[in-house]
Every structure is written in C-alpha cells, then in structure tokens.
Amino acid sequence: MSLATQLPALQVAVPLLTAPLLVLLRGPGLAWAAACAASVMAFVIAISLTASVMTTGAISYAMGGWPGPYGIVLEIDALGTLVLLLVTGASTAALLSGRASLGLDIDAGRQHLFYAAWLIVLAGLSGIAITGDAFNVFVFMEISSLATYILIAAGPDRRALTATFKYLIMGTIGATFYLIGVGLVYMMTGTLNFADMESRIADVSDQRPILVAAGFISVGLALKAAVFPLHLWLPGAYTYAPHVVTAFLAACSTKVAIYVLLRFDFFLFQDNLVGHTMQFAVFLVPLAILGILVGSAVAMVESNLKRLLAFSSVAQIGYILLGASFANEAGLTAAVAHMFNHALAKGALFLAVAAIAMRVNGLRLQDIAGIGRRMPLTTAALAVAGASLVGVPGTAGFVSKWLLLQAAFAQGALGIAAVVVVIASSLAAVFYVWRIVECAYFGNAQAPGDAAAVVTEAPLPMLLGLWLVVIANVYFGLAPELPVSLAESAAADLLRHVP
C-alpha cells in the first residue's frame, strides 16, 4: 500500500492535523510558514487527485478500510476534484500572498490561532468535496463554518463582529435544515452513504418525507450558498472580514455549498421524486434570475469596493444556478465551469483589493482614486480580473459566460429570457467594473500631497500571488481545456445518476 493510494485521506488529514500543531507554534512567522506548507501540500494532493481522476475516473476510498455503506467512503469524481482545486488553490494563493496584509489586520500574538482556524476551514471545505457520506458532509460543513466565523470575526472593524453573528445565525439555521433533511432521507432509506441512498431511494414507497427532505436540504444549502434571497449574510461577512480571508472565502466557500446541492439533487432527487425536475427548475430559475438582477443592480450603485464585489458575487451565484437549473449537459457544464472561472476572477479581485487596502485608507471608490499611477501593477491586475468578471474574451470569465449563453440559447423561449438577463447583467458588470477601473486610473486623488506621496506598490509576495491568479485568469481564458473538460465530465457524472 503506497502513499499515493492514501491521498484522499491525506487531503483532509494534512490541514486538520497541522491546525493543532499551529496552536503550539508561537511565532507568527513560523505559524504562517507551517500553514502555507500544509496548504501547498493540500494543493499538490488536489492536483494529483485531479490528474488521476482525469485519467482513470472516479476514486473511491474506504476510510479505515471499512467498506461502504458501513464505513465512511470518500468519493472523488470530476466535480469533487474541481471543487478541491478551487478550495486548496484559493487557500494557497491567499496564504502565500497575504501574510503582510494579515499582519496588519491581526495581532501578532494571535496569528498562530488565526492560521489554525484557517487550516480548519481548509480541511472542512476539502472534506465536503470528497466525502461520500451525507452526515459527514454536515460535520465537515460545521467544522468549516465554525472556523470561518472565527476568520471573519478577526476583521479589524467592529462591524465584523455583528456581520459574523448574522452569518453564524443564518449559517447554523442552514446547517440544521440540512441535518433535518438528511435525517428524513435516512429515515426512509436507512443509509447515509450517497451511493447506497441512490440505489435504495427508488424503492421508497412513501415519497412525502423525501419530498420534505428535498425542501429542507435545498433551502439549507441555499442559505449556505447565499442564493438570493438568502444572501443577506454575505455582503457584511465579505466586507468586514480581513481582506485576504475575503479572497479565500469568496473564491470557494459558497461554491462548496452549491456543489453539495448539485450532488444531492442529481444523485437522489432528480427523477426519483415525481415532478422534481420541474420543481427544481421552477424553484431555482426565478431565484437565479432575481439574484442576478438584484445583485448586479446593487453592485452598480454601491460605493464600498468590497461590498460592491460581494453583491457581484450574489449575481454570479445566480449564473451558476441558472446554468444548473437547465438540468442538461450544456447547462451543468456551464454552471460548473463558471464555479471555477468565477473563483479565479473573484479571488484575484479580492486579492487586489487586499493589496490596495494595505496602502490606502478606506475602500470607498473615492479612496482609491488615482492609485493607478502609484500602484500600477496592482491596478493592472484589478483591471484584468475585472475584465474576467465581466467576461471579456480572452479571459476565463468569457469561457463560462459563453457556455452559459450557449446553453440558454438551446432552451427555447425561457432560454431567450435567460439570455436577456445574462446580457443585461453583463452590461451592469461592465458598468461597475468600469467605475472601479476609471476611478483607479483616471480619478483624481482627494488630498494630493500627503496621502498620495506615501502610497507605493504592494509588497512583492502579494503582487506575485495576485499576478499568479491573474495570469491563471488569462491562461484559462485562452486554454480552457482543464476547467471545461472537468466541467463536462462533472456534468456527465451528475446526469448519469438521473435514470
């Protein structure tokens, strides 16, 4: 038994076991280095898992040698590896580049605890992506959520505390809803293993509890995923969290919830419940469209940079759901590809914001006026990542927007409405991204002289990390082979479970 076969377990174990060690490491530098090492290792594991999934197909790993459905089984398929890549990649990029920024936000004496919480988030989110057990998902979800609350509450503004409290309440309600749903499914099928549930659910004679479970699970996960109108926790949490934390969470945390939602829905409910496919679409499409419109509209008038981007996230989650709600291969491919590409774009944007926040007081648009001249590299990165968010050709965002529109065009009349909505929100995105870019490049600094003189480029590690993500945006815009093929096989995987 070689180490390579243990990779799925190590994916979670490495960050989870490093976290308590960090508590013992007192020096902030040491703690940061250890956290980075664990995160990089997790990223490497995720890459190698992706490689083997792409060549040999899904991996199944029985924890402790107990075979499913009795033991807990880790199931890693294309969709899972894509989410794994997002989670570990976002964590690694944010950690490697964010040390200086976090140093400003968090006391040196508490940094080792902060990094420990970070690794627990990483472990929890990766755990969700690979586990094949419904209750295990709950446990990992709460592990990551509890640690996430800690990360957000570490924000320098006192409003971070109230935002965290709001998130804690809504997040817990979401998780509890999910738990109720899982309980009901367990009651009817007698199993918690996804594969086992799937094979037994068709034989359940009384469908009503399953239907209720589908409702609870969908709403609970929608809360976690900040699906409109359950997104209320998101803007506050993203705005007041430490900037680097926002970059990490915005890139992956909501996507993980959507991942679970998709898995549950397509593995268990689609076509097993009478009329569920229809209900799924009827439930999601209006929410997705409203989320897109409202998120974009608010982002257009919002003047705080992080809040603006947070509302744009609400709209982008709408894109993902819109693609998924078509419940066909093209739509799901678009949704999954957009999960990947939006993570790249939003991660880069929030990293750029973190870099700017290190040098500028305040993050309102007028605060960043004219920084294009003093932080040219950061601002250029911001512009490119913004272009990716808009979906300018040649960037990653374009690929998934294209796929989404293409899928929508094939949907007939409803699809045309979706196309109109997506186009309208793209125009809104042009507007709000342009507001940022114009302010940064062509705006005149409010107080020339005093503040202007000290503003210099962000520290080198920050720039390197930021540009790495930005280059990934361009690379996956020109050579989208990896995300698109992963998304295609993920979509095929999901649909294979629909009889």
Binding site: V392, W402, L403, L405, S426, W434, E438, L478, V484
Partner: protein, 487 residues
C-alpha cells in the same frame, strides 16, 4: 519566414513597440523614433503579405483552440489585407503628424498616448486578420478599451463625460447585441469561421435572418449606423491625431469592415440577396447618410462637422455592401480606402489649424487660406474627394457603388448617393470658399503654418487622395478577387 509567421509578426510588432515606448518614456526623441520605426517596420511587414494575397493565397495562423471548435486564429483575405495595409501605412503618416501636433500643443501624458496608439493599431490589425467572429470580437473589444485613454486624453470633466459616452455605446452595443448575435450564429451553425459564401445558409431562414443582421449591424457600434452613432461626435474631444487615424480610419473602418465581412462571409451575399427580411439595412444606411449630412450642415465646430460627415461616409460603405452586387462590394472596399485618405487629411488639416491658430469653429476660418496655404490646399482636395469630384479618390468609389446600384436598378441607393453628394457639397464648399476668398476677421492672432511634421503629413495624405484616382489598379485587382468569390 512563413506567411503565418508574418501575420504573427504584424500583430506582435506594435505590441513590442508599445512596450519599448513605455520603457523610453523619459527620452521623447528616442520614444518618437521607436514609434516611427515600429510603424515603418509594421507597414513593411503588412505590405510583404500582399503579393501572396494577390496570387490567391490565404495564409492562416492558429493561436489556440478554446472549446467546441472555437478558435483564436488569424487569416488574411483581400478585404482584411486592404484594411490592414491601410491602417499600417497611415500609421506612419499619422505618427509624423502626431509628433508635430502633440509637441506643438505641449500635450501631457504623451507616453501613454503613444503606447495606447500602438495597442490600438495592433487591435485594428487583429480585426483585419481575424479568421473567425470570435477572434474579431476579441480584437474589437481591445480596440475599444485601448482607445478610451486616447479619447479621454485631456482628462477634464467634460472630456471624461464624452469619453464615457464613447465607451458606453461601444461596449454596450458590442456586449448587448453583437455577442448574442455571435452566440446565436454559433449555436445555429456550429462554426464561426469566415467562409466565402457564408455559413448561415440552411441553418437560419426567414425573418430571423433580418433580426440576426440587425443584431450584427447595430452590435457593431463602430460602424455608426444610426442610432448607434452618438459615440463618434463624443469622441471628437480627443486630440486630433486620434480623431484622424482612429476615428476616420482604424476604429470606424474596423466597424464597417466588420459589417462588410459579416455580410460577405457570415451571411453570404447570395443568401442575403434572396432573403427579403434583410432589406431594411439598405434603408437604415440610406437614412443614416442623409440624416448625418443634414446634421453636418448645421454644425459650427469643424471637428464635429467632420465627425458627422464621417458617419455619413461610413454608411456609404454599409449601403454599398447592402446593395449586394459584386461591383458594389468592391465599391465598399474601395470606399474604405478613399474615405480614409480623404478624411484623415481633413482631420490633419483641422488639427493643424488648431495647433497654429487655436481656431476650432467654422466661422473663424474666413481668410485662413492665405495664412496656411498648404494646409488649406490639402483640405480642399480632401473635401472634393468627400464630395466625389474627379480627380480624387472619392470619385472612384462612388463610381463603383453607383455602378453596382444600377446593375440591380436599386433606385434607393442611387437617389441617396445623389442627394448626399449635393448635401456634402453644401457643407464643404462654403468653408473652402470662405477660407480662400473671404476676408479675415480683424484682431486675430498672427500665425503661419503648423509645425512642419504636421504639414508634411497632411500633404502626403492629400497627394494620396489624388494619386488614388489614377493608381487604384492594385486595389481593384485585390478586391476583384472578392468579386470572383462572390460570383
């Protein structure tokens, strides 16, 4: 070097130039030398492709494949060759002019100006050489974005407001209309590659063709078909070299070039001819020509008048393309060249007048011919070309468009061209008359000609306008390939 490498070189050269210009920003003389060298080298590279295209070669450069057969790829065909050669050649002249203008007016941010200019040229060449609609769209958007800093160059509130109109209309139309059109085409046909004879035949029929055409024509805001024309007058806040090369040649021609290319290679002339739902384009173009000319009549500001004249002249190209006969398609291609030479001269002259005397309004121009004889001579030649008087380039293209229109007894087109010729004469001739024969208002500033690079540049393009009347054979030969392909 293989032809594919030549295409790559043509695209990369201006970008390298932009980087070098950025590095040499501190030494203006070196910086301008680099601009000129890059422009000259680029023109040489682009021209070196012409013999191959003349012989019917179609070199192709594949960059990357995205997904589902969508590619970023470039290829050269007669129309694109013409546009690229035009833009690259006029860039040299324009660079000479820019040096005179920018230094004469002591403009700020000159390095940014030259960098963005080089990027815009690279994007224009990308549009010219695009092998498919996706690549074209990519370069089209880069062209829009890279010209924004040029338009908003002055940086004051009014300029920024105009520049926002510019960007808003161009980006809005391209994302809101052009992108859906492209995706629709792709979903329906499964390809976006420009193919002689068109690609939609058999996939999209009936009124949908007219709708798709509308999405394309109005989506390409750069073609300035009304009501998508508002950005062009707004862009006049830019320094004159920008108006000259970009808003008389590169950007606007990228627009009509795209429309022509879409008509020939996406719809296919025959397909569109057989489909009555596409006929509206002719009327839209005719309306734009007449309306723009009438508005131009009422302008007091020289550059704004030229902008509306440009809108009208652009729709000549659209009109010619919409007449849908082989002769008129050739006329469209030739008009791209003829109008480019004439309009760049007019803008050069407007800029020279501004540099020498700070005059921008029409009524101030009385008697200026005596002070700036070279400039006004060039202006006169170019204006005659706009009207279509022989021996100028404008006559040749009008001849072909009319000939094409007569072939199909298209009286709308014929009537429009005749009426607009009268209107063109009505707004250009009084200016020329006043400049040469009226008395100068007393108390004006004493001035002579603009700096010599500017005068040199505008003389060259004026000569070009004349020369094009006599030596248009190569262009005709090149574009008659287009005719052969259509037939």
């Amino acid at each position: 070097m293989s032809p594919a490498d030549t295409i790559l070189l043509a695209l990369v050269l201006p970008l390298c130039g932009a980087v070098l210009i950025g590095l040499c920003g501190r030494w203006p003389n070196l910086r301008e030398t680099i601009t000129l060298l890059t422009a000259t080298a680029l023109a040489a590279v682009v021209w070196s492709l012409t013999p191959l295209i003349m012989d019917g070669g179609r070199p192709r450069l594949h960059i990357t494949e995205l997904f589902g057969g969508l590619e970023i790829a470039f290829s050269v065909e007669p129309l694109g060759m013409l546009f690229a050669a035009l833009a690259a050649t006029l860039w040299i002249v324009n660079s000479v002019y820019s040096i005179g203008y920018m230094r004469g007016n002591k403009e700020k941010h000159q390095t940014r100006f030259y960098i963005c200019f080089a990027i815009a040229i690279a994007a224009a060449l990308g549009v010219a050489f695009a092998d498919n609609m996706l690549t074209l769209f990519l370069c089209y958007e880069i062209l829009t974005l890279s010209t924004y800093p040029l338009v908003s160059h002055k940086g004051d509130a009014a300029t920024v407001r105009s520049a926002r109109v510019y960007l808003g209309i161009l980006l809005g139309s391209s994302i809101g209309l052009l992108l859906p059109a492209i995706i629709w085409t792709y979903v329906a046909t499964g390809t976006l590659t420009f193919t002689p004879g068109g690609i939609i035949d058999g996939f999209i029929d009936g009124p949908a063709v007219g709708l798709l055409l509308a999405l394309y024509v109005f989506g390409v805001g750069k073609a300035a078909v009304m009501p998508m024309h508002r950005w062009l007058p707004a862009a006049m806040v830019a320094p004159t070299p920008v108006s000259a090369l970009l808003h008389a040649v590169a950007v606007v021609k990228a627009g009509v070039f795209t429309v022509t290319k879409v008509i020939i290679y996406i719809f296919g002339v025959d397909e569109l001819f057989a489909e009555p739902s596409g006929e509206w384009l002719l009327y839209a173009a005719a309306f734009t020509i007449i309306a723009a000319s009438v508005i131009a009549l009422r302008q007091q500001n020289l550059k704004r008048m030229l902008a509306y004249s440009t809108i009208g002249q652009l729709s000549y190209v659209i009109l010619a393309a919409a007449v849908l006969t082989p002769l008129s398609e050739v006329g469209a291609a030739i008009h791209i060249v003829a109008h480019a030479l004439g309009k760049i001269t007019l803008f050069f002259a407007a800029g020279a007048i501004y540099t020498a005397s700070k005059k921008t309004e029409l009524h101030q121009l009385a008697g200026i011919g005596a002070r700036m004889p070279w400039t006004m001579a060039a202006f006169t030649i170019a204006a005659l070309s706009m009207i279509g008087v022989p021996p100028t380039g404008g006559f040749v293209s009008k001849w072909f468009i009319l000939a094409g229109a007569f072939q199909t007894d298209n009286y709308v087109a014929i009537f429009t061209i005749i009426l607009s010729t009268v209107l063109n004469a009505a707004y250009f001739l009084p200016i020329i008359f006043a400049a040469w024969f009226a008395k100068e208002a007393p108390g004006g500033k004493d001035h002579g000609e603009a700096p010599w690079p500017a005068v040199l540049a505008l003389s060259i393009t004026a000569l070009g306008t004349l020369a094009f009347f006599f030596f248009n054979q190569p262009v005709l030969e090149l574009e008659s390939q287009l005719m052969a392909r259509i037939e």
